[in-house]
Symmetry: C2
Amino acid sequence: MSKTLIFGHKNPDTDTICSALAYADLKTKLGEDVSPARLGEVNGETKFALEQFGVEAPALVQKLEDGADVILVDHNEFQQSADNIENAVIHEVIDHHRVSNFQTKEPLYFRAEPVGCTATILNKMYKEKQIELDKHIAGLLLSAIISDSLLLKSPTCTEEDVKAAQELAEKAGVDLEEYGLEMLKAGADISDKTVKELITMDAKEFAMGDAKVEIAQVNAVDVSEIYQLHDELVSEITATVNEKGLDLFLFVATDILNNDSEVLAVGPEKANVEKAFHATLDENDRALLKGVVSRKKQIVTALIEQF
Amino acid sequence: MSKTLIFGHKNPDTDTICSALAYADLKTKLGEDVSPARLGEVNGETKFALEQFGVEAPALVQKLEDGADVILVDHNEFQQSADNIENAVIHEVIDHHRVSNFQTKEPLYFRAEPVGCTATILNKMYKEKQIELDKHIAGLLLSAIISDSLLLKSPTCTEEDVKAAQELAEKAGVDLEEYGLEMLKAGADISDKTVKELITMDAKEFAMGDAKVEIAQVNAVDVSEIYQLHDELVSEITATVNEKGLDLFLFVATDILNNDSEVLAVGPEKANVEKAFHATLDENDRALLKGVVSRKKQIVTALIEQF
């Protein structure tokens, strides 16, 4: 039997990469033959975290072999997972998202908890298994929590996440606030990004009723900088909508200092955005959503309700 | 907010009833406002267990209100759950089956482990929460494990289940083997059952390739007693095959003492039974399958392979 691959979702974010690395570390220490993997390019924020703690990014996997042994972290929906996931043997899932479009033929270990970050669950699992956290693993788990919780500001952030972050910062030997802001700023640096990258680097597709909806999120220190590219964004997103037959593409630019998001809606169902958020799209099809920072808890749920 | 209902699957078995009762006990002790429920009649085996430990069966629930707060134990597939489950808010799932036909809008606590019984997971959860097990709850959890594992003989039974059963028997103050056999015998008492009841009381339908297959299982201390009703069984099953347009109806009489099953095959695809189990149906269309006791792990898988 070949190694069991551990990976997070497509368009990997910091939680997905760091959780794959950490869970592979834990499993290896428990004597299991596993290997961390990733399904796409590592983003700037994650790179910053990996460099900070001296860890290499996991290997890129493009498509799974039939019957591949896999463990999913930070996702469960098949459309967010590796190509050919339907024909893999999924042994475990460690996640903090809703469950949807997921199925197995056999019983498995499936652990989802409604916390802000997969890394928070993994931090708990190290304790349960009584395995001491190495400093660099503590750093990776901390980075994941900071990323998913927008430095503990997101409504998805629970008390458990806060406690874990404090604990992990101490173990990693960094100041939580200072390191956190530095890491988020590194991720919000869009100066070297193409428009194509902006709309794909953290994009997820969702089935909502009969509709196909894609939601891309980009963090920024200055949202207006992103919308200087408004026309290019619209034309690139329109091309994606046509190519994938999407009903809606929602581009979400999140202000990490003020904790708001300015969204851009493209596609035949864009009117649903207005209804879902009781907001009005301006002549550029954009709207400022005050206090909205969480795709999972504030955007996806409101849109599902609407569709 | 009304109480959160905790229930297992339709056609409830001992694990489903006892796990709902035990998890409601644990949650109540943790200060949560929950209530156990059941989706159907309590069977003879479960009745025996409840009487033994002096516990009332949970209340019957027919259909959920829109937006009802629920926790599922011992199942996750919606077609096995309460009517209107699609419109309930599922807060938790504690299960040991494959995951399929399940979805939520929101993140939840979903805990599935590949063990033989939901009760084994619950026994662990009492420890994690540091809540002492009352004697009668230990008895319920023990009964569930005995039922699902056919007194630790089924191939679905793991080392964890065995350990839990031994621990629980001690806490419940009963002899594992002696109580276990007594309980299984109570469940295998078919003296008051009609032929119609025998073929429906634990029947499940499966789609296998293009074929519609129904498999009914009945536990017995003396299988020959069941087949004294051979002619009536055949005529009742034939009526069911015609009525539902089944390709195969497999009636499985499982000998709980010798851990074998004698099956009766009816329907146009009955030859597939011979191929799937490398067995020959006799002139009565029956065959003894040595060592076969698990519908899930031995019968369904072999037939799916064949069809």
